[in-house]
C-alpha cells in the first residue's frame, strides 16, 4: 500500500482520525460541546478530502477496498448524512441533558463503518464494516439511558442484528466453501458455478442484507427501533446504515447480472413488492409519527430493491438519485421531530403536531417539503427519483412491478397527506390532550433550524434541476 492508495483512502482515514480526536476531546476537555465540534469539523474535512483525493481514482486499496467514483459518491452521501445527524444531535442531546462526547465518537465510527461497507470489495471488509456500523448503532440507539424505550430498542436491535449477522457470516463461509474466493467482484463476475453450498450461502447473505435494509419479511424490528431511538439516531439508522448496505448490494448484484438470472430476480421482485405493500399499508394505519415513517422507510427500500431486480446502467443512476433524495427527506423528517421535542418528550403522535403551521410556519413548510418528497410529488427530489425508477422499469418491460409501484405511490400519498393536513389544521389542542412541542415553547435551536432549511432547499433544488446531481452520478458509472 503506497502513498497513492493512502490518498485514495483519505476520507475513511480522516473520519477514523476524527473519531480518535473526538474521544480525546471527550476525555480531556471539560466542555460538552468540544466533541460535537470535532465531529462536525471532521465530517466537513472528510467531505472536502473527497475532492482532494478525486484524481487518484479509481484505485484498489489492498484486496479489501475499492475506491472508485461509485464508492466516493456513496461515501460522500454517508458523510453528509453523518454531518446532518451530528448537527441535529447536538441540540437534541442538550435538551435531553445527556452527555455529548461518546455519541459523537460512535457517530464518527459508524460513518467510518458505513463508508467501508460502501467501498468494500471483499467479504472481510464487508463483515468488518457491517460490524463497526452495528456495534456503534447498538450503543447509539440506547444512548439516552434513562429513557426505557430507547434501552428496549437498543436491546432489540442488538439481538436481531446479531442473529442476522450470524446468517450473513455463515452465508459468507458457505460461499467461500463453494467458490474458494472472498473477492466480491470475482464472485459477481464468475458466478458460483452451480455450487449448491454457495447458492445456500447467497440465500443466507440475502437474509442478513434483508434485515439491514428492513425488507419484508425481516422488517419486524423497524417500528420499535425507530420509535425508541432518539430521533437523530433514527435518522441515521434510516439513512446512512441502509444506504451503505444498498450501495454494496447495488454494485455487486448488478455486476453479477442478477436481473437476468431468473429465480433470484423473482425472489428480489417478490421481496420488493411485499415490502412496498406491507410498509405502505401498515403506515396507513399508524397514528404514531415515528412508526409511520418507519413503515414508510420499509416501502422506500422496496422501491429501491425494484431497481436491483431491473438491473443495468439505469439502476445505478436511479439508485443514486433515489438514495440522495431519500436521505435528505428522511433525515429532514426525523430532524423535525427532534427539533420539536422538549427534552425527552418527542412529538410521537399525529395529534402532537396538529396545527403546527400556526405555531411555526417554517417548520411546517420544511416538514411538508420532506413528506411531499417522500411521497414523490413533482417539484421535489422524490418525484424525479421515482420517475427514474418507473422509466427504468418500463424500459425493461417490467409492467407488473411498475403498476405495483404506482399503486403503492398512491397509498403512500394518502398517509403523507394525512400528516400534512394535520399540520395545517386549525389548532384545537384542548380536545386532544396533546403535548406542548418545542415550537410552542419557542425553543427551536438555530442549528437544527439551519440543517432543516438546508435539507429542504436540497430537496426542492434536486426536484427542479436534476442535472445538478445527475452529472455527478453519471461519473460513477
Amino acid at each position: 500500500m503506497g502513498a497513492r492508495e493512502l490518498i485514495a483512502l483519505l476520507p475513511i482515514i480522516l473520519i477514523s482520525v476524527s473519531a480518535v480526536l473526538a474521544m480525546l476531546a471527550t476525555a480531556f476537555i471539560k466542555s460538552e460541546s468540544a466533541p460535537a465540534y470535532v465531529s462536525a469539523i471532521g465530517f466537513v474535512i472528510a467531505f472536502i478530502s473527497l475532492f482532494v483525493a478525486y484524481p487518484e481514482l479509481p484505485r484498489a486499496v489492498t484486496p479489501l477496498l475499492i475506491m472508485d467514483y461509485f464508492s466516493y459518491f456513496y461515501i460522500g452521501l454517508i458523510i453528509l448524512a453523518g454531518l446532518a445527524v451530528s448537527l441535529l444531535a447536538y441540540p437534541d442531546f442538550k435538551k435531553r441533558g445527556v452527555r455529548q462526547g461518546e455519541f459523537h465518537v460512535l457517530l464518527l465510527l459508524s460513518v467510518a463503518g458505513s463508508a467501508t461497507l460502501a467501498a468494500s470489495a471483499h467479504f472481510a471488509s464487508f463483515l468488518l464494516g457491517l460490524e463497526i456500523l452495528s456495534v456503534s448503532l447498538y450503543a447509539m440507539i440506547a444512548y439516552d439511558r434513562p429513557d426505557i424505550k430507547g434501552l428496549e430498542a437498543g436491546t432489540k436491535y442488538l439481538v436481531l442484528a446479531s442473529v442476522s449477522a450470524a446468517f450473513l457470516f455463515f452465508g459468507m463461509a458457505m460461499v467461500y466453501a463453494g467458490v474458494g474466493t472472498m473477492d466480491l467482484a470475482g464472485i459477481a463476475v464468475n458466478g458460483i458455478g452451480g455450487s449448491i453450498s454457495a447458492l445456500a450461502g447467497i440465500a443466507m447473505i440475502l437474509v442478513g442484507i434483508g434485515f439491514k435494509l428492513a425488507l419484508v419479511p425481516f422488517h419486524m424490528w423497524t417500528p420499535d427501533v425507530y420509535e425508541g431511538a432518539p430521533s437523530p439516531v433514527t435518522a441515521f439508522v434510516a439513512s446512512a446504515s441502509k444506504g451503505a448496505v444498498f450501495a454494496l448490494v447495488l454494485r455487486y448484484f448488478t455486476q453479477a447480472g442478477i436481473h437476468d438470472t431468473g429465480a433470484l430476480a423473482y425472489v428480489l421482485l417478490a421481496v420488493s413488492i411485499a415490502s412496498m405493500f406491507i410498509g405502505n399499508l401498515l403506515a396507513l394505519l399508524q397514528e404514531n409519527l415515528k412508526r409511520l415513517l418507519a413503515y414508510s422507510s420499509i416501502a422506500h427500500l422496496g422501491y429501491l430493491l425494484l431497481l436491483i431486480a431491473a438491473g443495468g446502467r439505469g439502476a445505478f443512476i436511479a439508485g443514486g438519485y433515489y438514495l440522495a433524495a431519500y436521505f435528505a427527506a428522511i433525515i429532514g423528517a426525523f430532524g423535525i421531530i427532534s427539533a420539536l421535542s422538549t427534552g425527552r418528550k418527542e412529538p410521537r403522535m399525529l395529534d402532537d403536531i396538529r396545527g403546527l403551521a400556526w405555531e411555526s410556519p417554517w417548520l411546517a413548510g420544511f416538514l411538508s417539503a420532506m413528506l411531499l418528497s417522500l411521497a414523490g410529488i413533482p417539484l421535489t427530489a422524490g418525484f424525479i427519483a421515482k420517475f427514474y425508477i418507473i422509466s427504468l422499469g418500463i424500459s425493461k418491460a417490467m409492467w407488473w412491478p411498475v403498476i405495483m409501484l404506482i399503486i403503492n405511490s398512491v397509498i403512500g400519498l394518502a398517509y403523507y397527506l394525512r400528516v400534512i393536513a394535520a399540520v395545517y389544521e386549525r389548532p384545537q389542542k384542548e380536545l386532544f390532550n396533546a403535548m406542548q412541542t418545542g415550537a410552542e415553547a419557542g425553543k427551536i435551536s438555530l442549528i437544527s433550524g439551519g440543517v432543516l432549511a438546508v435539507l429542504s432547499v436540497i430537496t426542492v433544488i434536486l426536484g427542479i434541476y436534476p442535472p445538478l446531481l445527475l452529472k455527478i452520478i453519471e461519473r460513477t458509472l
Binding site: 479489501l64 441533558g97 465518537v105 459508524s110 468488518l128 422538549t342
Partner: protein, 176 residues
C-alpha cells in the same frame, strides 16, 4: 483425519444444543466450554493449529473467565451459595465429562498419527507465520478496521455501563 474432524463437530453440535436447553446458567457454561474445545479440535484436525490454540486461549480461557466473573458478581449472598451447592450435584458433571473424554480421545488419536495436523484434512497446514504474513500483508486494512470495531465496542460499553448518568426530571430541563 476426516473422522476426527466430524467426531469433534458432532461433539460441538451436541454440547451447543445442551447449552441452549439448560435452565441454569452454570450448567450451560459447562457445556459451553466443551463446545469451544470441540471447535478448537476441529481447527486442529483441519490443519490450523494456530487457530486451534487461539480458540482455547481466547474463548475457553479469557472469555469464559469473564462469564464466570459476571456470574460471581451477580450471585451474591449466602442464599446464592446454598443454591449453587444444590446445582452442582455430582450428576451434573457427567454429561460434560463424557463429551470432554471423547474430545481427549480424539485429540490423542490425532497426535498419535504423527502430530495430527501434519496430515490433516487439507494438504496445507496454516502456521502462525502464515497468519501473521496474511494479517500484515493483504489484510492490513482488516486489522485496522478491527481496531475501529473494538473502539466502537469499548466506547459503547463505557457509555452504557457508566454509573452516574445525570438523571433528569420528566420535563427534561437538561444541563446548561
Amino acid at each position: 483425519m476426516t473422522t476426527s474432524f466430524y467426531l469433534a463437530a458432532a461433539v460441538a453440535l451436541a454440547s451447543t444444543l445442551m447449552v441452549i436447553t439448560r435452565a441454569r446458567i452454570i450448567h450451560a457454561l459447562l457445556y459451553f466450554i466443551i463446545s469451544l474445545f470441540s471447535v478448537s479440535i476441529m481447527f486442529f484436525a483441519a490443519g490450523a493449529p494456530f487457530a486451534a490454540a487461539l480458540e482455547v486461549i481466547i474463548y475457553a480461557g479469557a472469555i469464559m473467565v469473564l462469564f464466570l466473573f459476571i456470574i460471581m458478581i451477580l450471585n451474591l449472598g449466602a442464599e446464592a451459595a446454598a443454591q449453587e451447592r444444590q446445582w452442582l450435584t455430582p450428576g451434573i458433571w457427567l454429561g460434560p465429562s463424557m463429551l470432554a473424554l471423547i474430545l481427549i480421545a480424539d485429540l490423542a488419536f490425532l497426535i498419535s498419527r504423527g502430530g495430527g495436523y501434519a496430515n490433516g484434512l487439507y494438504a496445507v497446514t496454516v502456521q502462525p507465520k502464515d497468519v501473521g504474513i496474511a494479517l500484515y500483508g493483504p489484510y492490513l486494512l482488516g486489522v485496522e478496521l478491527a481496531s475501529l470495531l473494538l473502539l466502537a465496542g469499548l466506547i459503547g460499553a463505557l457509555h452504557l455501563a457508566r454509573r452516574n448518568v445525570p438523571e433528569e426530571g420528566e420535563d427534561g430541563t437538561g444541563i446548561n
